[in-house]
Symmetry: C2
Subunit: 140 residues, 2 copies
Amino acid sequence: MRPNVLANLLLQPLAPLELRCQDRALMSGSGLARGLPEPPYYAVIFTSLRTPGDAGYGATAERMLELARAQDGFLGVESARGADGLGITVSYWKDEASIARWKAELEHARAQAEGRRRWYADYELRVARVERAYGKGRRG
Amino acid sequence: MRPNVLANLLLQPLAPLELRCQDRALMSGSGLARGLPEPPYYAVIFTSLRTPGDAGYGATAERMLELARAQDGFLGVESARGADGLGITVSYWKDEASIARWKAELEHARAQAEGRRRWYADYELRVARVERAYGKGRRG
C-alpha cells in the first residue's frame, strides 16, 4: 500500500482539507467510517466550496492527515465532494477537548488560515454531539 | 424556476435520498445551507454508498422533498456525492421531535425501506446536536 494512499484515507478531520475520492476508494472500498465507539462522541461537519485549482491544497492535505492521525481522540472521517464543487467532510472525535486541541495545533492552525485565504470560496463548520448512530443491519 | 429544480433544492432531510448535484447547482449556486438559527439545533448525518443505476431513486427523491419541506422543524440540508459513490447528506432540524416525526411519516417510512432494500449498498446515519457553528467571515 502506497504511503500517500494510506495518508489520504484518514485525511481532514477538521477544516480546511478533504479526502480525494480516488485515493480513498483505493483504500477502503467504501469511505464510510468504521469502528467508531457507541455514542456519545463528537462530529465536526465541514461544508465547503473550493476555489479553482490546487494551489498547494493537496500537499497540505496529506501533511494534515499525518498530524490528525497522531491526535488523541481522533475517531475517523467521512468525506465527499460533488461535481458541482460542494464538499462535505465529517470528522469524528472522542470529545470537545480533542477537537479544541486539534484546532489549536500550530501547523494545523496555519493550514486553516491558508484555507480561509486561498482554498475555500465559502465554508460552514459545525460542531455537534452525536447522540445515536445506526446503519444498514443496525436499525435505529 | 422549474418545479423539479426547486424540489431538489430541499431534498433528503433524512435517509434514504440525497440531492442531485446538477439540480442543486442550478438552484443555489452554492449548496451551503443558509439562514439557519443559532445553535443548538439538530443534524442528521447520512453517509451512504449507492447501488448501481437509478431504480426509481430519482423520482422518489423529488417526492420526499415535497414532504420534507412541509415538515415542521425542517431547517435545511447540504449534500454531496463524490465520483467514488460515497455520498454525505446532512439535514438540519429544530429539535429531536421534528426528526422523529419525519422518520415516522408514512410515505417517508416506505421510502426508507426501499432505500435499505434497493438503493443503498451501505449507509450510516447519525443524529447529532449542533452545539456551535461558524463560517467564512464568522470565526469560531
